[in-house]
């Protein structure tokens, strides 16, 4: 039985700025309710500027001006069923959770290691304070043991990042994120702009670690080919709202929302030269989002109702939940 480990309830957040007496509100996260379970890869897909990274910040309990939460909550469910509201937690409570329960694999993770510190020092900086009562000697043994699982030798610890190949650096960053055996790893575009060979290696390693430690990975990327191969469930985000959510197989086989259909239909594949279509228009400006369904100006099947009313997620025949009046 899978249980929840993290959930957001009707979360609404926006960036608010006051500049020269002008108030500007950019509504980036609009009514997002998600539930992530233990031991799964939960994918969030969407184009750049759709609010993916902001949603991740909130999920990690990181909310600082100019980002404000209007309503809703983010709740972390501990192993014994204790619930912690991340947006209301004190700094000490958050400190106790970060890295031990929720850790990160950052974008461009090949280049996140401190270039002037040896790899072991990075482990000391990042992970040692979160390891509880432990001498440095014990910690070193734990690190060596952990890197062994990632197929890295102990000589890596005394290397500078530039002495390692790209694939090894990826392994080190994954090692950093998993050494405290967290229950959730947040991965923000972990393999974007990586070469194909390193990409597959990295994803393979993340998948194996996820299965071994029974963790939850929240995987955010715009690349649906990555989601297809990694995620158990996917949420598709458009202009700050979740437009469709469901099992990966359902989303790929019977997408109900026109935006999802477009995303999946436009994927290029080796062995298929058929001309792919693309969406007209540009992603909406979130400071003045379109009325009604935020996708309606670009939607190929929009009806007058779409410009007026806001659709909510409803179950569809294909097994997914989609926010579209025309989905069935």
């Amino acid at each position: 039985m899978t249980t929840e480990v993290l959930r957001t309830n009707a979360l609404r957040a926006s960036y608010v700025t006051h500049l020269y007496g002008m108030d500007r509100e950019v509504r980036v996260v609009e009514d997002v309710s998600l539930s992530m379970r233990r031991n799964e890869v939960f994918g969030i897909a969407g184009e750049s500027g759709c609010g993916k990274t902001t949603l991740l910040k909130l999920v990690a309990g990181f909310c600082r001006p100019p980002l404000f939460v209007q309503s809703g909550s983010v709740e972390f469910v501990g192993e014994r069923g204790n619930v912690l509201s991340l947006l209301e937690a004190s700094p000490d409570e958050l400190y106790g959770i970060r890295w031990r329960q929720i850790s990160y694999i950052m974008q461009g993770s090949m280049n996140v290691l401190n270039p002037v510190r040896k790899v072991y020092k990075s482990f000391l900086d990042f992970a040692y304070p979160h390891m509880g009562r432990m001498t440095e000697r014990e910690f070193r043994m734990v690190v060596i043991d952990h890197l062994g699982k990632l197929r890295l030798g102990r000589e890596v610890l005394n290397s500078f990042p530039h002495e390692l190949s790209g694939g090894m650096r990826q392994r080190v960053t994954i090692g950093l994120a998993t050494i405290c055996k967290p229950s959730i790893i947040i991965a923000d575009e972990p393999t974007t702009a990586l070469d194909v060979v390193i990409q597959r290696e990295t994803l393979g390693l993340m998948k194996r670690i996820q299965e071994e430690l029974s963790l939850t990975i929240v995987l955010v990327t715009h690349d649906l080919a990555v989601h297809a191969n990694m995620a158990d469930r996917i949420a598709i985000m458009y202009a700050g709202t979740i437009v469709e959510e469901g099992l990966t197989t359902d989303i790929f086989e019977q997408p109900a929302h026109p935006y999802t259909r477009h995303l999946i239909g436009s994927l290029p594949r080796i062995g298929d030269k058929e001309r792919r279509g693309f969406l007209k228009g540009a992603p909406p400006n979130l400071a003045a989002p379109p009325s009604g369904c935020r996708f309606h100006p670009r939607c190929p099947i929009a009806v007058p109702q779409c410009a007026v009313e806001v659709p909510t997620l409803k179950p569809c025949a294909g097994g997914t939940k989609a926010a579209c009046f025309l989905a069935e």
Binding site: S165, G166, V197, G204, A228, L267, K273
Partner: protein, 339 residues
């Protein structure tokens, strides 16, 4: 088109045995890295072509692109445009003529434009630089024409700053800039690696349209195999400076022969749930140390490595309608030295 493109050989661009060496370290103790080695290919004048060059970062892709753009001169071998060697191009007029024929498209559209200048200002400037003596009105017409070709118009981008346009519009505008001088070749170095998946298709579709409507040949440099398969006619796989396999795109990507091409094709993710096996394996990605290997640069991680591969660089052999640099397919008895 340049004035000198009226007569000449059938080859528009011909690269023969191009080589570029970079030196690392001091004068006495330095090492040499051959970033591009013995690369040969050509583009024909009368059949516009999309030629993909696929490789990992650090494989020499960009060095090759810079040589084709004449930003770097090859240390050995020749690069000829319309039968004229790049080494023999001297003087402002000749250089301008070369640049007019071969135009670059850059990787990151947000960095292509000066953030403090309006986008149309930049396009106008390009038009006036390449067509000296024309009136402002004529320059504007050329800009409008180029923008129309990429699906934009002056009324959309006129008077706007780069931050006011979306990434897709900016990448289109930067392609419009490249086609203002009427080039016969566009060199696009990783034009889609920084943009979203949905935008990616609109850019590669645009390349196809430019090829079909304007007859422009495109050198498409990328590490994304799926889009290369989608748009290109011919392909070359570059590994540590060598073209290890080159030929017809469909043949190479569906039935790869070189072990490195096989590795790339296996690693490309199939966009279908569970389409690619993600079994965790030994690290096979390697850094730049492969450049220093004598013999075949891929030998250190090749599953079919033989003794010979570590000693001698394989010469190109023709197998199944393509060129492959691998001893698995012969080339062992080649008399002439490979270096």
């Amino acid at each position: 088109m340049g004035e000198d493109s009226v007569s000449g050989p059938a080859e528009l661009l011909s690269v023969r045995g191009a080589k570029k060496v970079f030196r690392l370290g001091g004068i006495l103790s330095g090492t040499e890295i051959i970033a591009v080695n013995q690369i040969s290919f050509s583009l024909l004048r009368n059949t516009p072509d999309i030629f993909s060059i696929i490789g990992e970062s650090g494989s020499g892709k960009t060095t090759l692109a810079r040589m084709i753009l004449r930003l770097l001169l090859p240390d050995a071998g020749t690069i000829e445009l319309n039968g004229k060697d790049v080494h023999s191009i001297r003087g402002r007029q000749a250089i301008l003529r070369y640049m007019r024929n071969v135009q670059p498209i850059f990787q990151n559209p947000f960095e292509t434009f000066n953030p403090l200048d309006r986008v149309d200002q930049f396009l106008n400037e390009t038009a006036r630089n390449y067509y000296r003596g024309e009136s402002k009105q004529q320059a504007r017409e050329r800009v409008e024409l180029a923008l129309n070709a990429v699906g934009l118009s002056l009324s959309e981008v006129g008077g706007r700053y780069p931050h006011e346009l979306s990434g897709g519009q900016l990448q289109r505008a930067s392609i419009a800039r490249a086609i203002i001088p009427g080039p016969s070749i566009l060199v696009a170095d990783e034009p889609v690696s920084m943009v979203d998946a949905s935008l990616r298709m609109s850019i590669v579709n645009l390349f196809q349209d430019l090829k079909n409507q304007l007859g422009t040949s495109i050198i498409y440099i990328t590490h994304d195999l799926a889009t290369a398969y989608y748009i290109s006619d011919r392909i070359a796989i570059i590994h540590k400076g060598y073209f290890v396999e080159q030929g017809d795109t469909g043949q190479i990507l569906t039935v790869p022969r070189h072990p490195y091409t096989k590795l790339l094709v296996e690693s490309a993710l199939d966009p279908k749930p569970g389409g690619t096996s993600l079994a965790d394996s030994e690290a096979v990605a390697k850094g730049d140390e492969e450049y220093l290997a004598t013999g075949c640069k891929f030998a250190a991680r090749c599953p079919h490595v033989m003794d010979l591969c570590r000693r001698k660089a394989p010469p190109p052999v023709t197998v199944a309608g393509r060129q492959v640099r691998c001893f698995l397919y012969g080339g062992n008895d080649a008399r002439e030295g490979d270096h």
